[in-house]
Amino acid sequence: MLFHSIRGVPAIDPEKCMGCGACASKCPTDSLTLHRTRDSILLELNVARCIRCAYCAEACPNNAITIEDKYTVIGRSREELAIRVIVPLARCDSCGEPLRHSAREVELAREKVPDLNVIKLCDKCKVKRVLAR
Protein backbone atom coordinates (compact mmCIF):
# COMPACT_ATOMS: atom_id res chain seq x y z
CA MET A 1 0.00 0.00 0.00
CA LEU A 2 1.37 3.39 -1.01
CA PHE A 3 0.51 6.92 0.00
CA HIS A 4 -1.64 8.64 -2.59
CA SER A 5 1.18 11.09 -3.36
CA ILE A 6 3.68 8.33 -4.23
CA ARG A 7 3.51 7.04 -7.78
CA GLY A 8 4.14 3.38 -8.50
CA VAL A 9 5.17 1.32 -11.51
CA PRO A 10 3.01 1.74 -14.64
CA ALA A 11 0.97 -1.28 -15.72
CA ILE A 12 -0.02 -1.65 -19.38
CA ASP A 13 -3.36 -3.27 -20.20
CA PRO A 14 -2.70 -5.37 -23.34
CA GLU A 15 -6.43 -5.39 -24.16
CA LYS A 16 -6.68 -1.59 -24.28
CA CYS A 17 -3.28 -0.58 -25.71
CA MET A 18 -3.52 0.48 -29.36
CA GLY A 19 0.16 1.10 -30.04
CA CYS A 20 -0.10 4.82 -30.79
CA GLY A 21 3.22 5.59 -29.05
CA ALA A 22 2.02 8.61 -27.06
CA CYS A 23 3.53 7.16 -23.88
CA ALA A 24 6.85 6.42 -25.58
CA SER A 25 7.14 9.99 -26.84
CA LYS A 26 6.37 11.40 -23.37
CA CYS A 27 8.70 9.11 -21.39
CA PRO A 28 11.65 11.22 -20.12
CA THR A 29 14.00 8.25 -19.73
CA ASP A 30 12.92 6.34 -22.88
CA SER A 31 12.11 3.34 -20.73
CA LEU A 32 8.96 2.92 -22.86
CA THR A 33 9.95 2.17 -26.43
CA LEU A 34 7.91 1.31 -29.51
CA HIS A 35 9.25 -1.17 -32.06
CA ARG A 36 7.54 -1.88 -35.35
CA THR A 37 7.70 -5.27 -36.94
CA ARG A 38 6.00 -6.34 -40.17
CA ASP A 39 2.65 -7.31 -38.69
CA SER A 40 2.67 -6.00 -35.11
CA ILE A 41 3.78 -3.21 -32.80
CA LEU A 42 5.89 -4.09 -29.76
CA LEU A 43 5.67 -1.79 -26.74
CA GLU A 44 8.42 -2.45 -24.24
CA LEU A 45 8.63 -1.07 -20.68
CA ASN A 46 12.07 -1.25 -19.14
CA VAL A 47 11.30 -1.04 -15.42
CA ALA A 48 15.01 -0.83 -14.55
CA ARG A 49 15.14 2.65 -16.08
CA CYS A 50 11.67 3.87 -15.09
CA ILE A 51 11.62 6.77 -12.61
CA ARG A 52 7.89 6.53 -11.74
CA CYS A 53 6.94 9.96 -13.13
CA ALA A 54 3.55 8.71 -14.45
CA TYR A 55 3.75 10.88 -17.60
CA CYS A 56 2.82 7.78 -19.63
CA ALA A 57 -0.46 7.35 -17.76
CA GLU A 58 -1.24 11.03 -18.35
CA ALA A 59 -0.49 10.78 -22.06
CA CYS A 60 -2.37 7.55 -22.83
CA PRO A 61 -5.51 8.43 -24.88
CA ASN A 62 -7.22 5.09 -24.19
CA ASN A 63 -6.41 4.86 -20.43
CA ALA A 64 -4.48 1.65 -21.08
CA ILE A 65 -1.71 2.61 -18.66
CA THR A 66 -2.55 2.73 -14.97
CA ILE A 67 -0.28 3.37 -12.02
CA GLU A 68 0.04 0.32 -9.82
CA ASP A 69 0.10 0.22 -6.03
CA LYS A 70 3.62 -1.21 -6.20
CA TYR A 71 6.77 0.91 -6.10
CA THR A 72 9.82 -1.35 -5.91
CA VAL A 73 10.53 -4.12 -8.38
CA ILE A 74 13.48 -6.37 -7.55
CA GLY A 75 14.97 -8.57 -10.26
CA ARG A 76 17.99 -10.73 -10.93
CA SER A 77 18.41 -9.67 -14.59
CA ARG A 78 17.30 -6.88 -16.90
CA GLU A 79 15.19 -9.27 -18.99
CA GLU A 80 13.22 -10.07 -15.86
CA LEU A 81 12.47 -6.35 -15.44
CA ALA A 82 11.11 -5.78 -18.94
CA ILE A 83 7.37 -5.82 -19.73
CA ARG A 84 6.35 -6.42 -23.35
CA VAL A 85 3.01 -5.79 -25.00
CA ILE A 86 2.37 -6.88 -28.59
CA VAL A 87 -0.34 -5.01 -30.50
CA PRO A 88 -1.42 -6.57 -33.83
CA LEU A 89 -1.64 -4.35 -36.91
CA ALA A 90 -4.86 -4.02 -38.92
CA ARG A 91 -5.05 -5.90 -42.20
CA CYS A 92 -6.20 -4.69 -45.57
CA ASP A 93 -9.76 -5.80 -46.40
CA SER A 94 -9.01 -6.77 -50.00
CA CYS A 95 -5.44 -8.13 -50.05
CA GLY A 96 -4.73 -8.97 -46.37
CA GLU A 97 -1.45 -7.03 -46.11
CA PRO A 98 -0.72 -5.40 -42.70
CA LEU A 99 -1.46 -1.68 -42.52
CA ARG A 100 0.48 1.03 -40.70
CA HIS A 101 -2.17 1.34 -37.97
CA SER A 102 -3.08 -1.16 -35.31
CA ALA A 103 -6.43 -2.96 -35.38
CA ARG A 104 -7.64 -1.11 -32.28
CA GLU A 105 -6.79 2.28 -33.77
CA VAL A 106 -8.89 1.43 -36.82
CA GLU A 107 -11.77 0.27 -34.58
CA LEU A 108 -11.63 3.54 -32.64
CA ALA A 109 -11.60 5.56 -35.89
CA ARG A 110 -14.60 3.58 -37.16
CA GLU A 111 -16.51 4.29 -33.96
CA LYS A 112 -15.82 8.01 -34.27
CA VAL A 113 -16.41 8.32 -38.04
CA PRO A 114 -18.95 5.57 -38.92
CA ASP A 115 -19.35 6.38 -42.64
CA LEU A 116 -15.62 6.21 -43.46
CA ASN A 117 -15.46 2.82 -45.17
CA VAL A 118 -12.13 2.97 -47.03
CA ILE A 119 -10.06 3.23 -43.89
CA LYS A 120 -9.10 -0.45 -43.84
CA LEU A 121 -7.36 -0.50 -47.21
CA CYS A 122 -3.63 -0.51 -47.88
CA ASP A 123 -2.02 2.11 -50.14
CA LYS A 124 -1.90 -0.14 -53.20
CA CYS A 125 -5.58 -1.12 -52.89
CA LYS A 126 -6.58 2.51 -52.44
CA VAL A 127 -4.80 3.42 -55.70
CA LYS A 128 -6.43 0.45 -57.44
CA ARG A 129 -9.89 1.48 -56.24
CA VAL A 130 -9.40 5.11 -57.36
CA LEU A 131 -8.15 3.99 -60.81
CA ALA A 132 -11.07 1.58 -61.25
CA ARG A 133 -13.64 4.34 -60.83
Binding site: T29, D30, T72, I74, L81
Partner: protein, 157 residues
Amino acid sequence: MQTQEAKLGTVPEILYINSGSCNGCDIELLAAFVELQETGLKFNVNVEARKPRYDILVITGPVTAQSFCRISRMLREAGGRLEVEYAVLLGSCACGGGIWYDSYATLGGFDSFLNYLRRVEEAELTIRKEKIYITGCPVRPRDVAETLREILEKIYG
Protein backbone atom coordinates in the same frame (compact mmCIF):
# COMPACT_ATOMS: atom_id res chain seq x y z
CA MET B 1 24.65 -14.54 16.40
CA GLN B 2 27.95 -14.93 18.23
CA THR B 3 28.13 -18.60 17.31
CA GLN B 4 27.43 -17.82 13.65
CA GLU B 5 30.19 -15.22 13.62
CA ALA B 6 32.57 -17.68 15.23
CA LYS B 7 31.60 -20.25 12.59
CA LEU B 8 32.26 -17.81 9.75
CA GLY B 9 35.45 -16.46 11.32
CA THR B 10 34.99 -12.97 9.88
CA VAL B 11 32.28 -10.38 9.56
CA PRO B 12 30.79 -9.92 6.03
CA GLU B 13 32.32 -6.94 4.27
CA ILE B 14 30.14 -4.53 2.27
CA LEU B 15 31.83 -2.26 -0.28
CA TYR B 16 29.73 0.80 -0.97
CA ILE B 17 30.43 2.94 -4.04
CA ASN B 18 28.64 6.19 -4.89
CA SER B 19 29.19 6.60 -8.62
CA GLY B 20 27.80 10.10 -8.95
CA SER B 21 24.31 9.66 -7.58
CA CYS B 22 22.13 12.53 -6.38
CA ASN B 23 22.39 11.20 -2.77
CA GLY B 24 18.73 10.15 -2.75
CA CYS B 25 19.55 6.43 -2.75
CA ASP B 26 22.48 6.99 -0.35
CA ILE B 27 20.21 8.48 2.30
CA GLU B 28 17.80 5.55 1.89
CA LEU B 29 20.74 3.17 2.19
CA LEU B 30 21.68 4.73 5.54
CA ALA B 31 18.10 4.20 6.70
CA ALA B 32 18.34 0.59 5.55
CA PHE B 33 21.56 0.09 7.52
CA VAL B 34 19.79 1.34 10.65
CA GLU B 35 16.99 -1.16 10.01
CA LEU B 36 19.56 -3.93 9.45
CA GLN B 37 21.24 -3.27 12.79
CA GLU B 38 18.00 -4.16 14.54
CA THR B 39 18.16 -7.67 13.07
CA GLY B 40 21.45 -8.30 14.88
CA LEU B 41 23.36 -9.38 11.76
CA LYS B 42 26.85 -7.88 11.87
CA PHE B 43 28.60 -6.42 8.86
CA ASN B 44 31.33 -3.93 8.00
CA VAL B 45 30.82 -1.11 5.50
CA ASN B 46 33.81 0.14 3.48
CA VAL B 47 33.78 3.13 1.19
CA GLU B 48 37.18 2.34 -0.25
CA ALA B 49 38.50 -0.93 -1.68
CA ARG B 50 41.64 -2.02 0.15
CA LYS B 51 41.34 -5.76 -0.33
CA PRO B 52 40.89 -7.87 -3.49
CA ARG B 53 37.69 -9.51 -2.25
CA TYR B 54 34.43 -8.27 -0.76
CA ASP B 55 31.18 -10.04 0.03
CA ILE B 56 28.66 -7.44 -1.13
CA LEU B 57 29.06 -4.51 -3.51
CA VAL B 58 26.43 -1.80 -3.15
CA ILE B 59 26.50 0.78 -5.93
CA THR B 60 24.37 3.89 -6.46
CA GLY B 61 24.42 6.36 -9.34
CA PRO B 62 24.68 6.17 -13.14
CA VAL B 63 28.55 6.02 -13.15
CA THR B 64 29.50 9.50 -14.31
CA ALA B 65 32.67 10.08 -16.32
CA GLN B 66 34.39 11.69 -13.31
CA SER B 67 33.46 8.89 -10.95
CA PHE B 68 34.60 6.34 -13.53
CA CYS B 69 38.16 7.75 -13.25
CA ARG B 70 37.99 7.52 -9.46
CA ILE B 71 36.52 4.01 -9.39
CA SER B 72 39.08 2.70 -11.86
CA ARG B 73 41.86 4.36 -9.83
CA MET B 74 40.46 2.74 -6.69
CA LEU B 75 40.39 -0.65 -8.43
CA ARG B 76 43.98 -0.19 -9.62
CA GLU B 77 45.10 0.72 -6.11
CA ALA B 78 43.34 -2.36 -4.75
CA GLY B 79 45.47 -4.52 -7.02
CA GLY B 80 43.69 -4.18 -10.36
CA ARG B 81 41.38 -7.08 -9.63
CA LEU B 82 38.33 -6.98 -7.40
CA GLU B 83 36.03 -9.91 -6.68
CA VAL B 84 32.61 -9.55 -5.11
CA GLU B 85 30.14 -12.29 -4.26
CA TYR B 86 26.95 -10.24 -4.67
CA ALA B 87 26.34 -6.91 -6.39
CA VAL B 88 23.32 -4.85 -5.35
CA LEU B 89 22.41 -2.04 -7.76
CA LEU B 90 20.40 0.65 -6.04
CA GLY B 91 17.98 2.85 -7.93
CA SER B 92 17.02 3.44 -11.54
CA CYS B 93 20.36 5.14 -12.24
CA ALA B 94 22.53 2.16 -11.36
CA CYS B 95 20.08 -0.33 -12.88
CA GLY B 96 19.68 1.24 -16.31
CA GLY B 97 21.11 4.75 -16.37
CA GLY B 98 17.89 6.44 -15.25
CA ILE B 99 17.20 9.85 -16.68
CA TRP B 100 20.86 10.17 -17.72
CA TYR B 101 20.99 6.97 -19.75
CA ASP B 102 22.27 8.71 -22.91
CA SER B 103 24.03 11.71 -21.40
CA TYR B 104 27.56 12.53 -22.59
CA ALA B 105 28.70 12.73 -18.96
CA THR B 106 27.60 9.28 -17.77
CA LEU B 107 28.30 5.72 -18.85
CA GLY B 108 24.62 4.81 -18.39
CA GLY B 109 24.38 2.42 -15.49
CA PHE B 110 26.43 -0.32 -13.92
CA ASP B 111 26.10 -2.82 -16.79
CA SER B 112 27.55 -0.39 -19.34
CA PHE B 113 30.25 0.43 -16.80
CA LEU B 114 31.22 -3.24 -16.60
CA ASN B 115 31.31 -3.47 -20.41
CA TYR B 116 33.41 -0.31 -20.59
CA LEU B 117 35.79 -1.58 -17.92
CA ARG B 118 36.21 -4.81 -19.87
CA ARG B 119 36.95 -2.88 -23.06
CA VAL B 120 39.54 -0.48 -21.65
CA GLU B 121 41.13 -3.31 -19.60
CA GLU B 122 42.26 -0.99 -16.83
CA ALA B 123 41.03 -3.18 -14.02
CA GLU B 124 38.86 -6.20 -13.45
CA LEU B 125 35.65 -6.40 -11.45
CA THR B 126 34.03 -9.82 -11.24
CA ILE B 127 30.71 -10.73 -9.66
CA ARG B 128 30.78 -14.34 -8.55
CA LYS B 129 27.23 -15.17 -7.57
CA GLU B 130 24.38 -12.75 -8.16
CA LYS B 131 23.57 -9.30 -9.41
CA ILE B 132 20.42 -7.84 -7.87
CA TYR B 133 18.57 -4.88 -9.36
CA ILE B 134 16.51 -2.80 -6.92
CA THR B 135 14.58 -0.26 -8.98
CA GLY B 136 12.88 2.93 -7.86
CA CYS B 137 13.78 6.59 -7.84
CA PRO B 138 14.84 6.59 -5.06
CA VAL B 139 14.70 3.07 -3.63
CA ARG B 140 12.75 2.38 -0.46
CA PRO B 141 14.81 1.55 2.63
CA ARG B 142 12.70 -1.46 3.60
CA ASP B 143 13.31 -3.23 0.26
CA VAL B 144 17.05 -2.53 0.49
CA ALA B 145 17.14 -3.78 4.08
CA GLU B 146 15.23 -6.96 3.18
CA THR B 147 17.49 -7.70 0.20
CA LEU B 148 20.65 -7.13 2.23
CA ARG B 149 19.26 -9.21 5.09
CA GLU B 150 18.57 -12.12 2.71
CA ILE B 151 22.12 -11.93 1.36
CA LEU B 152 23.65 -11.69 4.85
CA GLU B 153 21.63 -14.70 5.98
CA LYS B 154 22.88 -16.64 2.94
CA ILE B 155 26.48 -15.69 3.84
CA TYR B 156 26.01 -16.62 7.49
CA GLY B 157 24.41 -19.87 6.33
